[in-house]
Structure formats: C-alpha cells, structure tokens
C-alpha cells in the first residue's frame, strides 16, 4: 500500500519489543493494524477489504 500511494506510510512493529505501544493501542492479538492511530483492523483480512477499511476508516 505504501508503494501505491505517497500518502501511505507502513510501520511493521515487532510487538514483543514495544510493550508501551502494545499497551497504548491495546494489542491483545496479532496481526493488529492501527490506521492513523485510531481505526483498528483485527486479524488478517482479504486484501481489498483491508484496503477499503484502511482508506475509508470504516469497518465493512
């Protein structure tokens, strides 16, 4: 996604190394994605669902 748009930055975070981030974003399972630090996407999703959710900020 980051390659497709100059607007997108993508951080892959090794959760066990950053307990403060895990607490801050209430990560209780992986993968968990935070969009703009607010919208949560839990688990692995089909690609287009994931992109739609991330871009729209709306859980389908």
């Amino acid at each position: 996604m980051a390659v497709e748009s100059g607007k997108v930055t993508s951080f892959i975070v090794e959760a066990s190394e950053y307990p403060d981030l895990v607490r801050q974003y209430r990560v209780s399972g992986v993968p968990k994605t935070m969009v703009n630090e607010t919208v949560e996407i839990l688990g692995a999703r089909p690609e287009e669902d994931f992109v739609r959710t991330a871009v729209g900020g709306v859980v389908p």
Partner: protein, 141 residues
C-alpha cells in the same frame, strides 16, 4: 556465528536473485540499552551479503536524531526500506522469524516499485488525499 544457516542463506539468495533495482536498508541503532540492536545489525549484514542490490546504512539514533525524524523513526532498532524512492516502509524491532520473511517481501516490493495489489486496491489508494499511517503489530513466530 551466522544467524542464517547455510541452507537458509541459499534460499534467501535465490529469493533475492532477481531484484530489479537497488534497495537501501537505513538502519537506526544505539549502543546502550538495546538488546536487539546488535543481532539486528548482524541479520542485516548477512542479508546484504546475499544480494549485490542490497546495502545497509547504519545510523545512531541518538547522534542522528534529525535524520531519524526525517524517516519518522524514534525507536531502535528500526529499518527504513528504501528503493528507487522512499515509499514509506518501516520495520520496528528485530526482523527475525516471520518478520524476516516480511522484510524480504518489503525488499522485493521496494526494489520493483510494484505493490502487487489488485487493480481495485490500487484505485482506492490512488484516490487518497490525506496521509494514511499504518502500524501493523506482529510477533516473530
């Protein structure tokens, strides 16, 4: 003692054999209070030996804070995966286990400058007008 076994190294070398463009791994580290910085440095060093297209640039987070900030990085160990341009791909934490595979994938994507996403996904992303930050939390196994 290498982290990658000879057979793993062979597999990785084969995966990276067709990289079309150079990739820079901009690595931010520090010498104190970072258990995973040294093993991360070792993994990246071993990776760079497996492809002439991959280079590692090491920086000290504390001494080069402005540079780190320009990459949106404020923690160690962190890696910016930079291809023909900086697409905004970052790794926080040691890239071992499953994250190592993700790093290889990111290197391939950054080198090609092609996401491999579907047309529908690309169309949605092309319409983005404001910044979109993704933080994907993963674990090594």
């Amino acid at each position: 003692m290498p982290i990658l076994s000879p057979s793993d190294a062979d597999r990785v070398r084969a995966m990276l054999a067709d990289l079309p463009n150079p990739v820079r791994l901009v690595f931010f580290t520090q010498t104190l209070n970072c258990e995973t910085c040294e093993p991360t440095k070792q993994i990246l060093g071993e990776l760079a030996e497996l492809s002439s297209q991959i280079t590692v640039q090491e920086h000290n987070l504390l001494l080069e804070g402005d540079l780190a900030a320009s990459f949106g990085i404020d923690r160690v160990p962190s890696i910016a995966v930079v291809g023909a341009q900086d697409y905004g791909i970052r790794f926080l934490g040691i890239p071992s286990g499953y994250e190592f595979m993700s790093l290889l994938d990111a290197i391939q994507v950054a080198s090609a400058g092609d996401s491999g996403l579907t047309e529908a996904s690309r169309a949605m992303l092309a319409g983005l007008e404001s910044p979109l930050s993704l933080q994907v939390f993963v674990t090594p196994t």
